[in-house]
Amino acid sequence: MVVCRELDRALCQANPRWFPIEGEEATVVGSFIDLRVDDAVAPHYRDPFVVYLMRGADMWRLAAQVLGKAAGYNKGRSVPFNGPVELNVVPWVAGDLGTTIGTATGAALAFQQEGSDRVCVCTFGDGTANRGDLHEALNLAACWRLPIVYICQHNGWAISQAAHTYIAGSVVGRASGYGIPGACVDGNDVEAVRCTVAEAVARARAGRGPSLIEARTWRWRGHWAADDEHYRLDTQDPPGMEDPLDLYAYRLLEGSTCDLSALERIHMEVEAEVRAAMERAAAAPDAGASELGLEDVYA
């Protein structure tokens, strides 16, 4: 979570059009941290990088994508949410929302076809939850009992609109319409997220089909880094929304799992790691004509 936050802050500083994740780290990390490397993951566009990092991607090459560098895994071509394909991450290749819910469902279908016990975990925003893609996918995955867990990373906002303007009922309530388990969890509590996801993953791995989880969190910052958020000046943060990093840190300290100096050391090490990655990325050559890649259109 510390890596997620520090890298995100650095990326926001370097690129005003990056989409900040601050405040939502527990949902991102808790959703994916316990999976096997051969499982598939389909993270939401709001910071997929920490998920790539969990699986072994190079931080500086991820950062290079955000800076439009040739060294990015996408060779500077796509919206910068990609990473190495071989890490079993469903790629994000267009600016549209909801299509990765479909392709993630396909990863689960591939696992069912091959007869393995691999699973897929897919996160998406509360704005994306209103794409027909989610409804079609939930129904199809339920009909075929696909090994997938759908997680709505509910941060309360779709760009400038508050959730009450676009969600009728609740996202988790939609699970019952498709006859699958639904669970709501505090998306700022990483242990609660892990626990809820683990149950759904176990179910999927055992061949008992998909689940839908709604993780409630809050978008602390603008839709993009330079967003002045004039549209929500009058909006109060909801009560009880805690900083997921603080919440987890208190718990570690209370449980004497570690002491304050150990936590501070983690922060310092991560800051240094992020700084080095950003410097290396910034120094790399920009993507340009040589990345146009006419030969890369067809395999």
């Binding site: 060779k75 071989e86 479909g102 469902t105 076809q113 027909g132 079609e136 996918a137 067809y298």
Partner: protein, 332 residues
């Protein structure tokens, strides 16, 4: 002595033979669609597949084209080789986001790494039952990253399906509905020469006076027109079956027009923004001096393809192709 196996097949039987034979030796190939199981498919298009391969590989899906195509793309990314059947081309717009924003982008946008070996099978145009006639095939030929094919005879129907199933890219396979149950033709079953055909046009009939570049059902209509023109007007019409809308074999047409000096294009989809326009543009770029008369583009009248007794007035046919050729050579 080598013996060559062959069989008489309709277009539909030829496509089914290709799918079944590929499924027999490649466990990764499976099928998604509506009514593809017990019913045997729209227009008998999947007859026998469920009995041979079972419900795990012949999957009946909810009526959710976007989820079907999305799931197939995902399965392809993770090592499978799915075929998605969209029963009729009119339903394809429901899957447009997946077909345009995902399937063709994945390889390029991941730096040339991700692969999407996927076949989308659908049916377009006029047909024996009259329904769902809209032909949207040309839309997809606009998009880098997609391949688009349309057969005009049973042996190409088989060969193009085999080629599509062995391709590493998303291939849209459009069946001309009017040819689905057209008379059987002899199909060579041993010949793998068909595998090179995506992107390669076929000389359907040689001729010295006029080039007709045709797609799908209009190849047959063009051949009929050529026979009429030979008998009635002593004209030699060359007919080129484009077979693939993307990649488009413009070289074959240019070569032909250099000899004939006259060009007619014809397809069931509309003229404006159609493949015929692309063919004419290629000739205008490569050899404008070869054209001894203005090129002529034929297609469905610029109306939403109508039903019933109005439809024949909208569609191109052999008579209209022949009339266009006569005008072109000054015989009318």
């Amino acid at each position: 002595m080598t013996t060559t196996a062959s069989a008489l097949m309709t277009q539909t039987e030829a496509i089914l033979d290709a799918i079944a034979s590929e499924m027999r030796h490649d466990e990764r190939v499976f099928y998604i669609g509506q009514d593809v199981g017990a019913m045997g498919g729209s227009m008998l298009g999947t007859q026998g597949l469920l009995a041979e391969f079972g419900p795990r590989r012949i999957r009946e899906a909810p009526i959710s084209e976007s989820a079907m195509v999305g799931a197939a793309i995902g399965a392809a990314l993770f090592g499978q080789r799915p075929i998605v059947e969209i029963s009729f081309g009119e339903f394809i717009p429901a899957a447009m986001n997946q077909l345009i924003n995902q399937a063709p982008n994945l390889h390029y946008m991941t730096g040339g790494v991700a692969r999407v070996p996927l076949v989308i099978r659908t049916r377009v145009g006029d047909g024996p039952y009259g329904g769902h006639p809209q032909d949207y095939s040309a839309w997809f030929a606009h998009v880098p990253g997609l391949k688009v094919v349309m057969p005009a005879r049973p042996s190409d129907a088989r060969g193009l399906m085999l080629a599509a199933l062995r391709d590493a890219n998303p291939v849209l396979y459009f069946e001309p509905m009017s040819l689905a149950h057209a008379p059987r033709e002899r199909v060579d079953l041993d010949n793998d020469e068909c595998l090179a055909k995506i992107g390669k046009a076929r000389l359907a009939r040689p001729g010295a006076d006029v080039t007709v570049a045709a797609v799908g059902s209009m190849v047959r209509a063009s051949l009929r027109a050529a026979e009429m023109l030979e008998t009635d007007d002593a004209l030699e019409v060359e007919v080129i079956d484009l077979r693939s809308l993307r990649p488009l074999d413009t070289g074959a047409v240019v070569e032909s027009v250099r000899r004939t000096g006259r060009l007619v294009t014809v397809h069931e989809s509309w003229v404006s923004g159609g493949i015929g326009a692309e063919v004419v543009a290629a000739v205008a770029e490569a050899c404008p001096e070869a054209l001894r008369a203005p090129a002529v583009r034929l297609g469905t009248a610029p109306v939403p393809t109508p039903s019933g007794k109005v439809r024949p007035h909208a569609l191109p046919n052999a008579e209209r192709i022949a009339a266009a050729v006569r005008r072109l050579v000054g015989h009318s």
